[in-house]
Symmetry: C2
Subunit: 227 residues, 2 copies
DNA sequence: CAGGATCCGGTCTGATACTG
DNA sequence: CAGTATCAGACCGGATCCTG
């Protein structure tokens, strides 16, 4: 737990626990479905494993997270107390979308975007068989420019090297543009019309793309905005 | 601003700013109506003035707070961006009331309670003339045991020494009990019936007491609780 | 009233390596 | 896979005293 505030105000009690660096992001990851240490690390690549381990222990001591052993691994799950933070996390996101427009270049991490896209693939929309979506980001250095999502049988994998299969859909755009779409600032069609995004693939694939991901943009918009 | 997370996720962008220690409490104080440096200090007695000053500068740079000079003082006001954090602060309080029941003795600070009661006096219910409410906390060391609220013409002052006027209402209880009432865990009548609280004063004053303060308890209860 | 200056100590970062 | 170990350095927060 964080350093105490020595205040009985519930806001202070909540923040003693929640305002430590990384804590809310760990909870965000768990709300997004990550349960294993390694999954959490993928969503929090700049957090050291030592610190992640410490935060998980703190959250577990506070009763927001349970730790269970299961066939060869540890699984972390949110308790009801942890899950009830969801509307707050969503509201924080909504607030930031409204008031923190500017993203610096270092915030634009392609591997985080791909990791999040991978878990928002709209499974019911997937055609049978394999679907490969390739991404090429014009504004990213060559080493991190090319990415693939390989969907097969409801499984989705992220690759940062050519998986060998031909892409069913190719998306060429700036990382910044795709992040705008992810946030809900822009939609696929708007970006394409503006020439900021090009889709390669059959007409069917063109029509599929906007439905392929359940992006969080909608949730930020739902977040309570008073007035 | 805090150390960056280097994530484009709006939750991360929000927390870069908001998860620094004390920041949310400064915002809570401003939402509660504090505008001057000294008022803020009274609500945040354990925060050093240097740090408060720094936080106010950060919040101002981030566009959540404006600083204006006015007759012999500096006044801090929330911008729309800052004010829009209100539902989040309330939701955090509600969450903590539901999930962090235990308050340690060091959390029970009588001067914070008196400071907060003083700003929640229900002005319209005040009778004309002077009203003096005395408090005696059975579970607090003598030095901080006795407090008075002096209401006069819509002005309310907190005293930690006998103001000299005879008390119109006397409240004798444990600090812990009064804090439970403040949080909404208990109401005045319940506490009195249970023998945990004694009111001295006329019958009229007995009837006034439960309406004398607009306690935040109701707001925590309103806070969105999913499921 | 609204802070500035200073110093100390704790915490986080970041890198690397190791383990059951 | 799910961490622990270690270590240097940066940075932050706490405390105290001081000022226009």
């Amino acid at each position: 737990m964080g350093t105490p505030y020595y205040q009985f105000c519930p806001v202070a009690k909540a923040m003693e626990l929640l305002d430590e660096r990384w804590t809310m992001l760990v909870i965000r990851e768990m709300l997004a479905g990550s349960q294993r240490f390694t999954e959490l690390r993928r969503g929090l690549p700049r957090m050291s494993p030592a610190l992640l381990s410490k935060r998980l222990r703190e959250l577990s001591a506070a009763g927001l997270v349970t730790r269970t052993e299961d066939h060869g691994g540890t699984r972390y799950l949110l308790t009801p107390a942890g899950s009830e933070l969801e509307p707050i996390v969503v509201a924080l996101g909504g607030w930031a979308v409204r008031w923190i427009g500017e993203l610096g270049d270092p915030d634009l991490d392609p591997k985080l975007l791909m990791w999040d896209l991978h878990r928002h693939v709209n499974r019911p929309e997937l055609p049978g068989g394999r679907l490969v979506v390739s991404f090429a980001f014009s504004d990213v250095p060559p080493r991190q420019r090319y990415w693939w999502l390989v969907c097969n049988d409801g499984e989705v994998d992220v690759c940062d090297r050519d998986p060998g299969f031909e892409a069913t859909i190719g998306v060429r755009t700036a990382l910044r543009t795709l992040i705008k779409i992810w946030r809900g600032d822009l939609d696929w069609a708007q970006a394409a019309r503006a020439g900021a995004l090009t889709v390669d693939g059959s007409g069917e694939m063109h029509r599929l793309l906007p439905r392929l991901f359940l992006l969080p943009g909608g949730r930020w918009a739902q977040a309570p905005a008073p007035g």
